[in-house]
């Protein structure tokens, strides 16, 4: 069973839907025991970093997530919250990935939010990540975000928008994507399937 972290962020239902389409059972929960004992955990989210971290701390979920031992996949805001610090609301985050999250500088050429289909480039220290296995080259995935994590030791793929940023991260049992695999057509389904089949 896959546990999906329940907190005050939107878009959690679309992850449940995507898992259903893949025939995988999941449960949305904020119960620490359920999260700790689940086979895998997905930490999704669309929302604001400051209010989300506050919510997690008030319920002790910040410690629970950090101490999980099974594979964990953060998505979008979930990934940003797994980094050191976010410029959004000047928020201290979970410090799982050693990267800071910064706002895109908008210009008329580069709209913010960075919204739409963009690439994933995977030429980093961690090669052949199992999360991004079996993907064709030059595939596009769906992004919607105004803040992004810098390139760091844990970067497994990047995307170029104004500047290169981390589009996926991996460290020990923690995985994360800035893009939305649950909205990224068949490419996203492959990535979710990879995570499910670890």
């Amino acid at each position: 069973m896959i546990a999906i972290v329940k907190y005050n962020a939107g878009n959690i239902g679309s992850v449940t839907n995507a898992l259903n389409r893949l025939g995988v059972e999941s449960k949305v929960t904020d119960d620490p025991t359920e999260l700790k004992t689940a086979e895998k955990v997905i930490f999704p989210g669309v929302g604001e970093a400051g209010t989300a971290m506050k919510y997690l701390r008030e319920r002790g979920l910040d410690q629970v997530i950090k101490e999980l031992k099974q594979p964990v996949l953060g998505i979008c805001l979930g990934m940003q919250l797994m980094c050191n610090h976010s410029e959004e609301g000047d928020t201290d985050c979970l410090r799982i990935f050693d990267a800071d999250v910064k706002r895109f500088l908008n210009t008329s050429e580069f709209k913010v939010p960075h919204m739409g289909w963009n690439s994933i480039n995977s030429e980093f220290r961690i090669q052949n990540s199992e999360l991004l296995a079996s993907l064709e080259t030059n595939v596009d995935v769906y992004y919607v975000h105004s803040y992004c994590a810098e390139i760091c030791e844990s970067t497994i793929s990047s995307c170029d928008y104004i500047l290169p940023f981390s589009s996926a991260l991996q460290k020990d049992n923690f995985y994360a994507t800035q893009f939305h695999p649950e909205k990224s057509a068949t490419v996203g389904e492959q990535i979710l399937r990879n995570f499910i089949e670890f």
Binding site: V46, S108, K111, P113, G116, E136, Y142, H145, H180
Partner: protein, 275 residues
């Protein structure tokens, strides 16, 4: 590079797509869910559902439909049509839509944009703008050899583009460019710009106004109205900074299937998603 998006738009009435959509190989051409799946598998980048049900109380059919679409669709989708309050917008997002689109409700009460953005986040809020050249504006363009020869400030001051509501039937006091600037200021995440002069003509998009707005604003513009051929989408993406092109009948009637359009755009050097 960020890809230009191709967005088929489906009109929904009482939970069904309006008559006329003729998709090859579809069991039920009136079923929006079947159509949505078909478009996603063809490579549409996003879908837009416009509910044209006349009744004011549309929650009963629309919300369950959104839930059903969300359960089968693996690409983002927007839902619009008669959304005029925060509570319905919230219900639609909760049912699984990625974005909601508002139009006349925003003209009537611009504060709604702020409320929706605060409640749901800017990225969820699309404001649809129906624009049309006013009569003096039309003359101004005709008298000039090219729009480029009119200084931008004159273009704006002459109020050549006005916002219309009620499907283009009712002219408002709003001038299109300043209304779009206000929409951005109030926190919308995207503008769906439909040129009523071009809509249904299949003669090409409204390039001038789209170009001016897409350079002026820092939120994405989805251009709609007039797209009839791949060449129209090509000029849209070459001559303006529009982020997406939206169309309906050319896709529905198989005149220009999404894969064919994308193939031609790729050959023309437009950055689009082909996977």
């Amino acid at each position: 590079m960020l890809k230009k998006r191709i967005i088929p738009c489906l009109d929904i009435k009482d939970g069904r797509t309006v008559k006329g959509i003729n998709f090859v190989g579809l069991r039920d051409a009136g079923d929006p869910v079947e159509l949505a799946k078909q478009y996603a598998s063809q490579g549409a980048d996003e879908l837009c559902f416009l509910d044209i049900t006349a009744t004011i109380e549309k929650r009963d059919t629309l919300v369950p439909l959104v839930r059903e679409i969300a359960s089968v669709l693996n690409i983002p989708f927007t839902v619009g049509g008669g959304i005029s309050d925060v509570s319905l917008a919230k219900e639609i997002i909760k049912a699984g839509a990625d974005k909601i689109a508002i139009n006349s409700a925003a003209v009537k009460r611009p504060g709604l944009i702020n409320e929706l953005a605060a409640e749901l986040g800017s990225q969820c809020i699309v404001v649809a703008v129906d624009t049309k050249c006013s009569r003096e504006g039309g003359k101004l363009i005709n008298q000039s050899a090219s729009l480029d020869q009119i200084p931008p400030q004159v273009r704006n001051d002459q109020n050549i583009n006005k916002v219309f509501v009620a499907g283009g039937r009712v002219e408002t006091e709003l001038e299109t460019i300043s209304w779009c600037e206000e929409i951005e200021r109030r926190g919308a995440g995207e503008i769906l710009l439909t040129s009523m002069d071009h809509d249904g003509t299949k003669n090409g998009f409204a390039l001038e106004i789209t170009d001016v707005l897409s350079r002026k604003l820092s939120i994405p513009i989805i251009a709609s109205g007039g797209g009839g051929t791949a060449a129209h989408f090509e000029e849209l993406f070459k001559d303006t900074q529009a982020s997406a092109g939206l169309a309906a009948s050319i896709f529905h009637f198989g005149e220009l299937p999404v894969p064919e359009l994308k193939k031609q755009l790729l050959e023309a050097g437009i950055t689009i998603r082909t996977t």
